[in-house]
Symmetry: C2
Subunit: 286 residues, 2 copies
């Protein structure tokens, strides 16, 4: 039995991770920043030396420097080609600095048996390596196809964060590029599922699929610009479920419903109407 | 007098420069590799872990790791916003490894007075830092607007490498992206002329212009794929003159005339027919 349900509660780390201004710029380009309006828009995320512009970091960069899987190696061995991202949440305690180091502690928070596969839920808390102050928390779940049936708990089910039955309050559309995954992967996730056509075929896809976290980054940009006036200091949290694969080149439309003072629900669809990020909820400083 | 013509012949360095597989991948994406056919084309330049594909390095990467200006600081002080790239040549002694370190010695080879500006010509020889074997030589000239009139030699003039008066033997068209310069600059040249609209206006352009060396990289890709069967080991040299600015988003058409056994002349035009790289000559193993 390759999946070990007793791994729940195990911790990993702390591990340290540093990043530079260049890492933040590369990530921003990887999730489409700067592609929309090259004459000025998003220069704070894509450049470090523009006049009267202070470099800033996209909030979703937290998944890059504060992720790390929370000790997935305790879970057992499985074929990485069978792993797909299920859910992702980030919670920020302030804007992410342009460069820095965090110390991250990961934890397995749940292992669920969905029959057709296993779900592994993890959490990772990152604190500033120098001051010890909390920076951000990431929560993530992955689905591993073919690894279910070990007799474990099915875990929580049923939809959360259901959008109101009315037109969205805000709609933002971004295009991804055919080579989007080739760029995004340079921020760290080199899984060939996103770049190698042969590997993608082995995993059952016609061609490489976009990283779920890349779609997540595009979605986070839409939330940031629309709900937070582009100010990362106003971005507090974001959670969502990955519901369908995205192919590089797809168009992403993010629909947002403001449901409270500093709260919005959202989902992301492709040009075919497929919902690819679902049950999203964001909180922000109004 | 800010330009010092006596700087001719001065050497700089040697300086060491290392690069990683990731640097090579980032450069390849910066000059458009992978954007044309994401299902397989150019995976050897854009990925390091595709099945049955060995990572390789674009020959024009030599300008990134083997450039360095050849001691421009000996030339004097001038406003960097007034500097435009004039000519660029590279000569390779074999394929560039995926990672490595070179030791580069630069030399000022000419300082010319064109009246409206000064031309500074430099050469930089790079050898493998470990073995001392020659890796590549780069030659470059820059034009500094407003710094002429110091009574110096005008230097060589008249066209070289004039293409035959017939249709090109090969034509390759690539599109650049509106955010091309934002990506290319992460390979090293952070001159805000290529990213900051305010800075570009100060320099007399309506909006940021693409790095000349980015256009050069696109052109080199066209030469590599067309003349060398995509094999960097067959790529020997490339020289060309920058004749007009390119704006991010422009389409680049590279016209090649095979003029001998292992020799071709080329030029690059935009969608308006403007010649942006002129008097090009490439040599290769047929």
């Amino acid at each position: 039995m390759p999946i070990n349900p007793d791994a729940v509660g195990t911790e990993s780390g702390p591990t340290e991770r540093s990043w530079t201004s260049k890492d933040a710029l590369l990530y921003a380009l990887g999730v489409g920043a700067g592609a929309t309006d090259p004459t000025g828009f998003e220069l704070e995320f894509t450049t470090e030396n523009s006049k009267d512009v202070q470099q800033a970091v996209l909030p979703t960069f937290a998944v890059i420097v504060g992720g790390g899987g929370g000790g997935m190696r305790n879970v057992g061995t499985f074929n990485p080609a069978m792993l797909v991202h299920g859910e992702q949440a980030i919670e920020l305690h302030g804007p992410i600095p342009v460069e820095g180091t965090v110390r991250t502690t990961g934890r397995i928070t749940g292992i669920y048996d969905k029959g057709s596969g296993a779900v592994i839920a993890t959490e990772a808390e990152s604190v500033d390596a120098e001051t010890g102050e909390p920076r951000f928390t990431t929560r993530s779940s992955v689905f591993i196809r073919g690894e279910g049936g070990f007799g474990g708990d099915r875990g929580p089910s049923g939809p959360r964060n259901v959008a109101p039955d009315r037109d969205a309050d805000h709609v933002v559309t971004y295009e991804t590029r055919p080579d989007q995954a080739l760029l995004y992967r340079l921020s760290g996730d080199r899984n060939p599922l996103h770049s190698d056509p042969e590997f993608a075929k082995m995993a059952g896809f016609d061609r490489p699929i976009l990283h779920g976290l890349c779609t997540y980054g595009f979605t986070g940009r839409a939330l940031l610009h629309t709900l937070c006036g582009s100010d990362p200091a106003r971005f507090r949290s974001m959670e969502a479920r990955f519901s369908k694969p995205v192919f590089p080149g797809d168009t992403l439309t993010v629909r947002m419903w403001v449901t409270g003072d500093g709260e919005a629900l959202f989902r992301t669809e492709t040009q075919t109407g497929d919902v690819v990020i679902d049950q999203g909820r964001a909180t922000f400083t109004p």
